[in-house]
Symmetry: C2
Subunit: 291 residues, 2 copies
């Protein structure tokens, strides 16, 4: 089978062997935002045509290609959901020369009834859940996802707008004056993480990044790292309050920051290869009888 | 005496009578950012020249004119501080034809040793403290100030970057897509205030403004008010956790929002005329022997 992770800014495709491993892969720009209306079949054919010509007959797509802005909108599937439920909720897309299905995103509601959603991450979590069974998983990013995995299924999750909030605050507030780009400063990051555990609230702690600088207690080159630690610290305080161990899957830079912040909160960290999507697509494909 | 509140974007001057009331006032653009280096004496002369010509001999300045970007930097005075301490810490500025002094800003440190600062608000708080004695005061804004007033002095305070965070998030994140300008929607604002009391943390609650819209449970015209209620609710949760009554001084729009959010948290609100600065300048002037 062929697995495709088609997101907002890129397309990643995998030719998956009978063992679920990627025998071949392709990574290109050409995210869904670059595709003109009606252009999805041709764009997909352009990407995976050679593999189809070589005899592949099944294509499983995940990511924002299944959103309102994508090819076809795949409704969100409610948690708890594992590979079996997700496979059953995939939707068929007409595509010449192959059976093509779309992975749905997941939705959940917290105790207050407020909804949360993910699209694309569910496929990575399926892979993590397969190997971990029961765990608390964190996929950090612009919109960090924290998911409870139980017996191989995703039973609930929360999204934290940490990365996007960091960008907005460090570029579009008074903190921008002193948040200069530059190398990470681990000591300043740790001070931000520690500050997040103190009383006062995030909106007050933010101003501390300004006043510490004003009082010559935080250098210009340190403000960005302090702010990053502060926000990640607040995320961890909310998402992992009672956790003793967190499973982290992320690209190297964010993985290092989150691992440091978790360790500083006394939480054990297991890091995972962030390249989980091929494995997740293969796992769902198995429940479709494609692998 | 003459009192001047010279901020970043405007200059407000008051001719104060022996009873401390403003007999005449002047409000103009021409904040400190518009003044060229060395131009402060001439700009002040231009604003209050007629009153000096009429015999005024004392000028008291407060606000950002005393900051590093202003005329002369007046070092921050440490809390607790009342009018007597503030008067004693004013600094003299050479100015032809009148005795001219600058009100210092205030600084404090929380239990963790993190500093906070204000400049300009101390003069308003002096006025509030004179009439209230002991109280919790809130001056909402871009950088909201919450001050403990005891026996007519400011004994401590916290700054919350609420207004500026609201602007950054509503204009420079995914929430901008649905945070359209428009009239306040009180019901959506109240939902945001209530959400702030629930678990999950601010960074998670922010994403809820997105998902509620995605699920057709928050209209585009409501998102801005929901976000505003969410942030003000988080500010109140941090700043007024144990408060039973808050004294609020702000322009009408913000005063209405904060009063609604405080009431929704079961906290009694007393609203005050936000035009407090003339009264505060007169009160400090009394300790200088100028009134």
């Amino acid at each position: 089978m062929i697995g495709v992770d088609w997101g907002t800014t890129s397309l990643r495709a995998y030719r998956l062997g009978a063992d679920g491993r990627a025998r071949d892969r392709l990574d290109r720009p050409g995210g869904i935002l670059t595709v003109a209306p009606g252009g999805f079949p041709a764009a997909l054919q352009d990407a995976i045509g050679p593999w189809l010509a070589a005899g592949e007959r099944h294509v499983l797509l995940c990511g924002m290609v299944g959103s309102r802005q994508g090819w076809v909108e795949a409704p969100y599937l409610r948690c708890p959901a594992g590979p079996a439920e997700i496979a059953a909720a995939t939707i068929a897309i007409p595509f010449d020369g192959a059976e093509c299905r779309l992975v749905p995103g997941l939705t959940t509601e917290d105790a207050a009834g407020i909804p949360d959603v993910m699209r694309g991450e569910e496929t990575k979590l399926v892979a993590l859940a397969e190997s971990l069974g029961t765990a608390l998983a964190c996929l950090p990013g612009t919109h960090s996802k924290w998911a409870r995995l139980e017996d191989g299924r995703v039973t609930g999750f929360t999204t934290h707008m940490t990365g996007e909030t960091f960008a907005a605050l460090s570029e579009h507030t008074i903190l921008a004056r002193t948040s200069t780009d530059g190398p990470d400063v681990p000591e300043a990051f740790a001070r931000g993480v520690d500050r997040a555990r103190q009383p006062g609230g995030l909106l007050h702690h933010l101003f501390g990044a300004r006043t510490l600088h004003l009082m010559d207690r935080l250098a210009q080159a340190e403000t960005r790292s302090f702010l990053s630690g502060l926000l990640i610290g607040h995320e961890i305080a909310a998402a992992a309050a009672d956790a003793r161990q967190v499973h982290l899957a992320s690209a190297a830079h964010l993985a290092a920051l989150y691992a440091a912040a978790l360790a500083r909160n006394g939480i054990a960290v297991t890091q995972h290869d962030p390249d989980l999507v091929a494995q997740g697509l293969a796992r769902i494909g198995r429940d479709l009888g494609w692998v």
